[in-house]
Symmetry: C3
Subunit: 338 residues, 3 copies
């Protein structure tokens, strides 16, 4: 069970309710049976719900003591005796929804903490929570039910939509956030892009006159940084998930529903299409176009445009198979040469 | 036009004044004509000033509706009819200065916020702004007209010169900052370097007894980290520009007017000369010497000293051409072998 | 001498006391002689103690004016005349202890700052220091003599052991910290891991129900991030040293006494054994097992399990020698082909 110091559980829940939430069909189970928690296959007991989504865990599944399990149709006949099955084509998605049912998002305490700083020019919606030490700028707008974390700083004029969760120790400036945006602790949004001209007396800053536009349902991981545009805006498309310590340069446009893993860097003015997936520690040169649905392996160095739907890897990034073949070939050539 | 919620424009400005600021010559224009804003070539209208600095945008230039444009001499004859030209050998630099004229640095509100913490032992200059929640340590010195951002923490004894802009949520300790230093949100300066001896009961910390010295006109990007020296100081030379999420180890000496792009890591005791340019995500081993004017491509792994003025890339880093040739050769050898 | 604005020295100290602390034998010195400071070989004077641990500095040693020096037995006969020697098999460890003697850890001022926020439900031990602007959550437990930095945020229910040093601007949630844990400024512990299922309407968050467990004597560098577990905990083993800007994903288990250099990324569910050393900017794929005592070179991309005690490098990571041979071979093949 999750540590009750940190998590509050909403149990028990009936199998029928779970099936409904997971959009799954009940096999071998009684709709009225009650369940107490979610758990992994190896630790689950008869009152727990588990899931199987990865072949690697099939053996664990076959000996699991879980009372119920979310599985794909083809696994039904491998289930151990007595296990109730919640059958769906997308077991992990089903599990995600069930886990959310057991552990609903924490209801926070609306109100503005005494030590928060919120000027009268700020437009603060209903049931907003502003935590201690937060500093809200002039003319900021915060939508209903949003939370602003402790010691977070929201710069003048910023807009935060409804139902956003802005973490602790975050800094926002020059940005417009949509609905249900989640920013984790230490995120920095809207600072100047890295733009300057080199003159005889050193660098001369080019004023960065754009904004950061974060669309609905975006999530940005801890200590990631998103610079504002130089003239055009920097844009993070709806539903995009960004991990920790990622750098997004000025004028970058990230499409909708992209997934960007930790420590990626996207240089200025590069555009990612819809549904692009980027592995950790990858870097993109500036001014590139990455097509819809492209998949970039971890630790790639992308120096050219990438066609939609392609899978690339390596540095310079190239079709993933080609890169793997080249690495294998170098290994072979070297062994032979000994 | 830049979003007025975030930017304040100082317009109109005459062509004569713009030419003066850009150190440019007026061609095809009336010195008394007034302009309202800066804009990109494709979005500019007859009252906007644009610029052309990159061949890629030459086509846009030839059909641009910009009323005025900063260009190099050789582009004059390609200009569309009716466009006033501000001709200079350094169009981007000229543009930078014009944009600064339209969008001057924001004047902040001098004074110490009520919720800031500033002990009487601190020496705070004229017209300093200290924002809400900032915590100033004992015996800190802050020069005239500097700004300390909200929820920033300045450790005991730190020195901040005149006209500095220390962002929000920054942490400083054991450091001396020159004039006009800009630190973006989340920067961490002066914490212990990664120094310890391994003993029978585990790591024993080696006291880190140096400081961080940041010279004039340095800029350090969001969430970057600069450790203080172990004995000697860590030094960032005047005019150096550092991007976001960069790591500078203890005892590192960065020369003057260097440019260090995002996510670079410089290991302990490495020295960069004057005017070194380092591409994003590059790493340097410790105790290296990188010569003046060296250029290190993005994603390089530098394991040896680099001669002044050379261009290197790859991992292990080598002359850029050689690295590119090797990569091409591996591709060829692999294709042939199919 | 270390800058007195930042460091307080406890001098003089007798050679006998230094020898005792360094677990060293005095050669050529008078036990009663007094020393004033530590210094590097090239800057030390007759009242300073220095050390020689790296062959590179042997020449400096032979002409050093240091009054005393911590050295290995084999260096004794190379010492300059008149230098007192503190002889030990582990000179750097001996030096670390001597430097700690001259520069003992700063005693802070116990007490809760007026502008800190600490609810009555928090359990705060004896002689704890809570700095201005810190925000302590409900039911937090802080052990005796620990310090919580300025503007740091400790989430509800977190546990901090005795003698911990939590830096400024840190964010903690869902975590349990052992004794003598040091977290540098800007560290983020316990936020959600990067876990979601992809559904027809976009990503669906998978509740992250684990914690972060940080064992005794761990140190985590500035702006590093450690996500909490998805179900199991994320664990950082006792005595492990983590540098700046490192990312530790959910469910990762780091063994005891590991060393992880700056900008490393460890993907979800990967396990490092005891005493693993990881060079900077290395990345690990998820679900890997890295054996005890493995050494991973800087900038490696680790895609497979690593056997205990092996040294690997490159991308994909392989035995270090093999990787170096392959790189040399590619260089040779390319030169020949010219």
């Amino acid at each position: 069970m999750a540590d009750p110091r940190f998590f509050t559980i909403a149990a028990p829940i009936s199998l029928a309710r779970l099936a409904d939430e997971a959009n799954a069909e009940i096999v071998n189970g009684d709709a009225d049976d009650l369940f107490e928690d979610v758990a992994s296959l190896d630790s689950a007991g008869p009152r727990d719900v588990s899931f199987l989504d990865n072949k690697k865990y099939r053996d664990q599944f076959q000996v699991s003591r879980a009372g119920a399990c979310v599985v794909a149709p083809k696994m039904v006949e491998r289930a151990p005796d007595g296990m109730a099955l919640l059958v769906t084509d997308q077991p992990y998605l089903g599990y995600a929804r069930i886990a959310q049912l057991f552990y609903p998002a924490v209801t926070k305490a609306p109100g503005i903490a005494e030590t928060a700083h919120a000027p009268s020019s700020a437009d603060i919606g209903q049931d907003v929570e502003i935590d201690p030490g937060a500093v809200i700028g002039e003319r900021v707008s915060i939508g209903a039910r949003s939370q602003i974390g402790a010691n977070t700083v929201v710069g003048d004029g910023c807009v935060i939509g409804e139902d956003c969760g802005i973490g602790d120790n975050v800094t926002l400036s020059h940005c417009l956030n949509g609905l249900r945006v989640t920013l984790f602790p230490g995120v920095r949004i809207g600072q100047d892009g890295f733009g300057f001209a080199r003159g005889p007396q050193g660098a001369v800053k080019v004023p960065q006159l754009g904004r950061v536009v974060i669309e609905d349902d975006v999530e940005i991981g801890a200590n990631s940084t998103v610079d504002r545009g130089a003239g055009p805006d920097t844009i993070i498309g709806a539903g995009t998930m960004i991990d920790n310590l990622v750098q997004i340069g000025h004028n970058v446009r990230i499409g909708k529903h992209c997934v960007i893993v930790s420590q990626v860097g996207v240089s200025g003015s590069t555009e990612l299409g819809t549904g692009v997936v980027v592995g950790g520690q990858t870097g993109f040169a500036g001014h590139l176009r990455i097509g819809d649905g492209a998949q970039i392996a971890a630790r790639s160095g992308v120096m050219r445009n990438i066609d939609p739907g392609t899978r690339v890897g390596g540095f310079p990034a190239k079709p993933m198979r080609q890169w793997l073949r080249e690495q294998a070939n170098l290994e072979r050539l070297t062994k032979k040469g000994k």
